[in-house]
């Protein structure tokens, strides 16, 4: 398939293709000035480019090249991330058609962010990790501020940019300290250098702390979560749908590789940090969302809580922990794609709405929408028979096996609190008096994605749960 490429370029094929195709699309759109019919002209090639990249990643041979690796672990993560990006493109079409912002730049920046996330997921060097993170976040800052005429979007972009720049600074400073202590930025060499350390090096500890703070910002883990609700709310909803899944997948993948490969010898240093981040994120996710009136803010706090659960599994520092993270991440991706599909079909009189009050009584007027959103909410709350229950159960089992009882208790308590606000959304939809119906969703693509995700969440426990479970365990064994 890729035999026309010189062998030296073969490992870079997917990333090269994605970057080159994006640049060609950029040039093509500048040359072809056809303003009126621009949406199909950009959404279609964008989804094609991502689809071809998915095929290339799938066909990629496994090799290590300087600063990057192509292994099965990264491959699976990249496939998941690109699929999430593809879903975001599909979900965005109806929204962008109804509220044209700057459609063309939206897709270009989404593609460039995907390049950054691919770099993050295959980075085996702190430098390529940093470049990937920077490429991704710089695109995301602009995406958040894309609707420049509205105050909220501008505020979101500015807030995200200022805090993100600070976190990049922390990350870079941490990298330089680690380089100072170990003399290398390459993951495998870092492990060897850590073994040679005769006494504990404070410089290394400080460096690891800074790096993890920087990544926690990107993961929106508490106490570095301040930007999340504002950015989720202020950014155009199509952008938020992209924010919620793909960047989280990329950050978790990069974090796993960094901790379990790069800092494999320094587990005692990062384990406590992970525990604190996990406990705080779960609590903030649970208590922060209680009073939210806006569904996007609610989902922002919910994602902070979910990140807390994943960090809790990461802090176990065992293979079982990684498997639980992967399982959780898969379920999280499906739940959030579906939930944002629902948010993207909330329209009243042709206007997009995002307040929870607008959902009052929709179970009678839009039953399909109401039941799908209810499934996602119950699944996120971790109510049995839905997929979210299994993923939470798996995490708790792993954490209890590792004897981290305090953390587990915090997790259980915060998921009880969190259930309150998920159930409130259901209550508003099913029991409150009807004010006005939502518009019938005109977009078949959004509808299909929502229904497929809802069905997948419901039947998950019967059919693919066992297979996904086995798949995650195989997936872990590919991390070297």
């Amino acid at each position: 398939m890729l035999s026309f490429l010189p062998p030296a370029l073969l490992p870079y094929a997917p990333i090269l293709f994605l970057a080159t195709a994006t640049l060609l699309l950029l040039v093509a759109r500048v040359v072809v000035k056809n303003g009126s019919a621009s949406l199909p002209m950009t959404a279609l090639p964008t989804s094609l480019i991502i689809a071809v990249t998915i095929a290339l990643v799938y066909a990629q041979p496994f090799v290590n090249v300087p600063m990057l690796t192509a292994d099965a672990f990264g491959q699976t993560f990249t496939l998941l991330m690109l699929s999430a990006a593809l879903c975001a493109v599909f979900l965005s079409v109806a929204y962008e058609q109804a509220e044209p912002t700057r459609q063309f730049e939206f897709y270009i920046l989404l593609l460039l962010a995907s390049v950054g996330m691919m770099l993050m997921l295959s980075a085996t060097d702190l430098l390529s990790l940093y470049i990937g993170i920077e490429l991704q976040s710089l695109s995301l800052y602009v995406l958040a501020a894309l609707r420049r005429d509205t105050l909220k979007s501008t505020e979101a972009g500015l807030k995200y940019f200022v805090l993100g720049a600070l976190s990049s600074g922390l990350l870079l400073y941490g990298i330089s300290l680690v380089y100072g202590a170990l003399g290398t930025t390459d993951y495998s060499t870092m492990v060897i250098a850590s073994q040679q350390l005769t006494a504990p090096s404070p410089m290394l500890v400080v460096g690891i702390v800074f790096i993890l703070c920087g990544i926690a910002f990107k993961l929106s883990a508490a106490p570095f979560h301040m930007w999340t609700p504002d950015v989720y709310q202020g950014a155009p909803t199509s952008v938020t749908a992209f924010f919620a899944v793909a960047p989280k997948v990329a950050a978790v993948g990069a974090l796993l590789r960094l901790l379990y490969v790069g800092f494999a010898e320094n587990a005692d240093m990062w384990q406590q940090i992970m525990i604190v981040l996990a406990a705080l994120s779960m609590l903030v996710g649970a208590f922060g969302a209680l009073r939210q009136q806006n569904i996007k803010r609610l989902l922002a706090y919910s994602s902070i809580g979910h990140i807390g659960f994943m960090l809790m599994a990461i802090s176990v520092n065992k293979d079982a922990g990684i498997a639980a993270v992967l399982f959780y991440l898969l379920v999280y991706a499906v739940m959030n794609v579906g939930a944002f599909g629902c948010v993207l079909s909330m329209r009243k009189n042709g206007q997009y709405v995002d307040s929870i009050r607008d959902l009052a009584g929709v179970s009678k007027t839009n039953p399909l929408f109401a039941y799908s959103l209810a499934i996602f909410m119950l699944s996120m709350a971790g109510i049995p028979i839905f997929a979210g229950f299994l993923s939470k159960l798996y995490v708790f089992q792993v954490v209890l096996d590792a004897k981290l009882y305090t953390l587990a208790v915090i997790g259980v308590l915060s998921s009880v609190v969190a259930a309150a606000y998920y159930l409130r959304v259901c209550k508003v939809m099913f029991f409150d008096a009807n004010e006005s119906a939502l518009d019938a969703s005109p977009c078949p693509v959004t509808k299909t994605i929502v229904v497929v995700a809802a069905v997948a969440n419901t039947v998950f426990i019967v059919y693919p749960a066992q297979q996904v479970f086995a798949f995650c365990e195989r997936w872990v064994s590919t991390l070297q």
Binding site: S128, G132, E134, L146, G183, T198, A199, P200, P202, M203
Partner: protein, 199 residues
């Protein structure tokens, strides 16, 4: 000799950094910042990092400091008002400074690096910094190099997306019209009698 030069550069750098903070006129602050940068560049030069020294002079003095100067002169920032809170924030600032100092001292007392790191040095290989960087920049670090290029592209796209807007009622230069003007449309020759002027 090198030691003597080091103390001159380092001393001047600290002095000019103090002036940056204390100068009343913000333009003077920026100019003193440039002096500090140049002295830092001198220190790098003494350490044998000539590439870093020149980059510091070119990028920081040539671009960043000039940008600062533009910001200071173009934006209407009331520096006196900013300075008004100085006394109020002084205790917190001093406390933070002491904390940082203690941390630095603690770190430097327990400073440990991998033995292999301390012996590595670039000065004994016989190539200049620039050559050594050039050897790895396009080979081992090609991914990071190209990635950095993409980051700059995103910055460019972002700046254009966020600032480019089409507004009505703006007087724009239309070069075609401007060049196409004829003498007959724009110039009129009149003979003016002295002491009367043109009505």
């Amino acid at each position: 000799m090198v030691e003597f030069l080091f103390y001159i550069f380092a001393g001047l750098m600290v002095l000019s950094a103090i002036v940056v903070v204390t100068a009343r006129n913000p333009v003077h602050s920026v100019l003193w910042l440039i002096v500090a940068f140049l002295n830092a560049s001198g220190v790098f030069m003494l350490a044998g990092a000539e590439f870093l020294a020149l980059i510091l002079a070119i990028v920081y003095v040539g671009a960043v400091a000039v940008l600062f100067l533009f910001v200071v002169m173009m934006l209407d920032v009331d520096f006196e008002q900013l300075r008004g809170n100085f006394k109020k924030n002084l205790p917190a600032g001093v406390a933070l400074g002491i904390l940082l100092m203690v941390e630095l001292v603690m770190l430097s007392l327990s400073w440990r690096v991998v033995p292999a790191v301390t012996t590595a040095s670039s000065s004994d290989t016989g190539v200049t910094n620039t050559e050594a960087l050039g050897r790895v920049l396009y080979t081992d670090y090609i991914v990071a190099f190209q990635g950095a290029g993409l980051v700059l592209l995103v910055a460019m796209i972002g700046a254009i997306v966020l600032t480019l807007r089409k507004r009505d009622g703006v007087r724009k230069q239309n070069i075609g019209v401007q060049v196409g003007r004829k003498i007959s449309e724009t110039l009129e020759i009149r003979s003016v009698k002295s002491g009367e002027g043109i009505s």
